[in-house]
């Protein structure tokens, strides 16, 4: 398939390795990958704060970077940015051209599970990983059944990763409580955010996994800062990095 990468500003600037791994794994899977220029922020920091006027320009710039780009899918390795982009594109541009872009937007896990599943992995990954089920991917993109929901259960993240030979997947307890990042929440409500992050970092470490693995770079960045401050024996990795290493 022909895939356009959507690399949110945080990943572009602070976690380029996640973007590189995403590009690499999609190419290994045989896709043709392009990276449209002119991408900016999805507007989430502003719309999450209620500031829709301030979000309009940046959102429309990002949308423009994808309008008219010929591709089968637009793939993004950051769940909460993807959710925000979808909502904000819709909020600020009701045209068919905008809808065409929205219809092609996929979060990486979503894409690798629903659209172009991975047939097999080449390399072993003989480590225990503790999955970070971040809120927006979980509850807004339905990447897995949230622990609040009853009835049939599914988990796309686990479904993809469990096929990697040698991998051992565990969860912190509670399994999917918010890590406390929440964008500007981390600074507006510093004390509570820090306590949530600290608790989350400790519950991941308590699983004795080597890695905390997740699909949302912002949560991982927050957890990483917490883990290093708390001197915990665990490291953060993005799902793209694990998959890329095993392909």
């Amino acid at each position: 398939m022909k895939i356009a990468l959507f690399i949110p500003c945080l990943v572009n600037q602070m976690m380029p390795d996640v973007a590189i791994a995403t590009l690499s794994l999609l190419e290994k899977l045989g896709h043709q990958v392009i990276f449209p220029q002119g991408q900016t922020c999805c507007g989430q920091p502003m719309t999450n704060s209620g500031c829709f006027n301030e979000a309009r320009n940046t959102t429309l710039k990002l949308l423009n970077a994808f309008k008219g780009v010929e591709c089968d899918a637009i793939v993004c390795p950051a769940a909460s940015c993807l959710v925000a982009a979808k909502e904000n594109f819709h909020e600020f541009d009701k045209s068919q051209a905008a809808q065409d872009v929205i219809d092609k937007l996929y979060e990486l896990t979503e894409f690798l599970h629903d659209i172009a599943p991975i047939a097999s992995f080449k390399y072993k990954f003989e480590h225990t990983i503790s999955l970070q089920m971040s809120c927006h991917g979980l509850r807004m993109l339905n990447l897995a059944t949230p622990s609040e929901s009853m009835g049939p259960q599914f988990n796309k993240v686990e479904a993809i990763l469990q096929n990697i030979p040698g991998i051992n997947i565990v969860y912190p307890a509670p399994r999917d409580e918010c890590c406390g990042f929440g964008g500007t929440f981390a600074v507006d409500e510093g004390a509570v955010s820090a306590k949530m992050g600290k608790d989350k970092a400790h519950t991941h470490a308590a699983t004795h996994a080597q890695y905390v693995v997740g699909f949302d770079p912002s949560c991982l960045l927050h957890l990483d800062g917490m883990i290093r401050r708390q001197l915990l024996p665990i490291q953060t990795r993005h799902i793209a990095q694990i998959i890329d290493a095993a392909l």
């Binding site: 600037q13 006027n53 600074v187 507006d188 004390a191």
Partner: protein, 466 residues
């Protein structure tokens, strides 16, 4: 001990920071509430049709809210046929005046009340006490905080913020229990004896209403301790206060809500006492006060209106990671937690409570009537922004952020220097400048370059290789 009084500031973040100073207490509070969430999960999982029940609960409430006038009229008419006296109150003060008038006609000196968030919302207790009527809250948790001179910190377990040792000390002072007693059973026995005396000497009883049934002209009151029934069945006068949102069409709808209410609240199949009242006692009088108090205003906004589907189970508080770590008194509103933000943000003069939330969405998935709490909270932020009431200096810095984020060049520049600063400055030097982030976390390890730059170089070298 009286935590509600230690909060001088009105900002949720400041109050929460004070609560967070005692980390052991935060852990204990968080765990106590998470236990309820776990019990709820077990109870919900034991009902195979749980998710269908939630859907049904949501639809019943939505249907009734969209035909509210009709159902309220039918309810009033049926009540009158049943010999109940119906009163309408447009706001809290009208509600209190009506209650006072009924009580005065009967020369009531002592009123026993069973738990009602509506009377809390109307601040009925201080109002009646000012007029010389003694009000005794009879729900155990409510009585504890009443003796402690505090408002509830949770809508279902109002004294959840107090440890059993603290209750023991309080009872020692107020009810003469032995000093140092902290055994819950013995403390409960002492409270029961104390409350018995109150029930026997009361002149009137008042309760809240969990559900009002239009075609029966009846109200349903749920308690685990039977205190509403003790109250209602002893004196001749009974009064029930309800919000207009409590109405459902028929008994079948009420059954759906009864199946989800207690399960979602504390993991119990049903509340121990779910009493239907549809008329006064022989020689007695039954009154119902139907209260608006801002609810029709809320209904004017399509998104906010869905908050009226709430059946006050407290499930969203128990799951909320912010509520559990900031305590019920940090919200500056009678109702704390996600639903408190949803229905209380308009009254919040500090304009901070809509931001006391990470928008994780757990509450919306826990809610048995599918109140879209995270959407409502996000909407409140937008409303505050439109009214120019943004907290945390957002009004001033957001336009700059907007400008920065919309320009790839500016963004590259800013982030480039941020990366550089992270690399060359010792952390001890930049940590104080990075605000709350650096106070609690290590700053990110700086990457060599942005993906943008890497991609351009990578592509160039790829081309050369070809």
């Amino acid at each position: 001990m009286n935590q509600s009084n230690q909060y001088q500031s009105t900002s949720h973040a400041d109050n929460a920071a004070i609560f967070c100073r005692d980390e052991n207490r935060v852990d204990w509070h968080s765990k106590a509430l998470w236990n309820l969430r776990e019990k709820r999960d077990k109870a919900a999982a034991s009902v195979p049709e749980w998710e269908q029940l939630r859907q049904l609960g949501s639809e019943i409430k939505l249907h009734t809210l969209s035909h509210l006038g009709d159902y309220l009229c039918q309810f009033e008419q049926k009540c009158i046929e049943n010999g109940i006296q119906v009163h309408w109150a447009k706001d809290a003060s009208e509600h209190n005046e009506i209650a006072l008038k009924i009580l005065s006609v009967h020369a009531v000196k002592k009123l026993v009340k069973s738990k009602s968030m509506l009377t809390e919302e109307c601040h009925l207790n201080p109002f009646l006490e000012k007029h010389g009527i003694e009000v005794i809250d009879t729900d155990l948790g409510e009585r504890i905080i009443q003796l402690n001179n505090q408002p509830p910190s949770h809508i279902v377990v109002p004294a959840i913020h107090m440890k059993k040792e603290e209750v023991g000390e309080l009872f020692h002072q107020k009810l003469n229990t032995p000093k140092g007693e902290s055994d819950p059973t013995r403390l409960t026995r002492a409270a029961r004896k104390h409350l018995h005396d109150q029930f026997l000497s009361a002149d009137a009883a008042m309760t809240g209403v969990n559900i009002a049934i239009a075609d029966l002209g009846a109200v349903v009151v749920c308690t685990n301790e039977g205190n509403a029934d003790m109250g209602v069945n002893l004196p001749k006068l009974q009064i029930h206060s309800m919000g207009i949102d409590k109405i459902v069409p028929d008994a079948q709808s009420a059954m759906v809500l009864l199946r989800i209410l207690a399960r979602n609240a504390i993991g119990q199949p049903i509340t121990t006492y779910s009493s239907f009242y549809r008329g006064g006692k022989v020689d007695g009088e039954m009154h119902i006060i139907i209260v608006d108090n801002g609810r029709t205003d809320i209904m004017q906004d399509k998104i906010l209106a869905e908050s009226l589907k709430c059946i006050r189970c407290g499930g969203c508080l128990n799951t909320c990671p912010v509520y559990r770590r900031s305590g019920g008194f940090s919200y500056n509103y009678t109702i704390p937690g996600p639903i408190g933000i949803a229905v209380g943000a308009q009254h919040d003069e500090s304009n901070t409570i809509p931001w006391a939330c990470t928008l994780c969405g757990s509450c919306s998935y826990v809610c048995p009537t599918k109140v879209p709490l995270d959407k409502i909270i996000a909407h409140h932020r937008r409303l505050k922004a439109e009214q120019g009431k943004l907290p945390f200096g957002k009004k001033y810095y957001m336009p700059a952020v907007g400008k920065l984020m919309s320009s790839p060049t500016l963004l590259n520049c800013a982030m480039g220097s941020a990366r550089l600063a992270l690399k060359v400055l010792p952390h001890s030097l930049i940590t104080p400048f990075s605000g709350a982030w650096g106070q609690y976390r290590e700053l990110p390890v700086s990457p060599k370059s942005s993906f943008d730059t890497w991609y351009k170089q990578h592509k160039a070298s790829n081309k050369e290789a070809k």
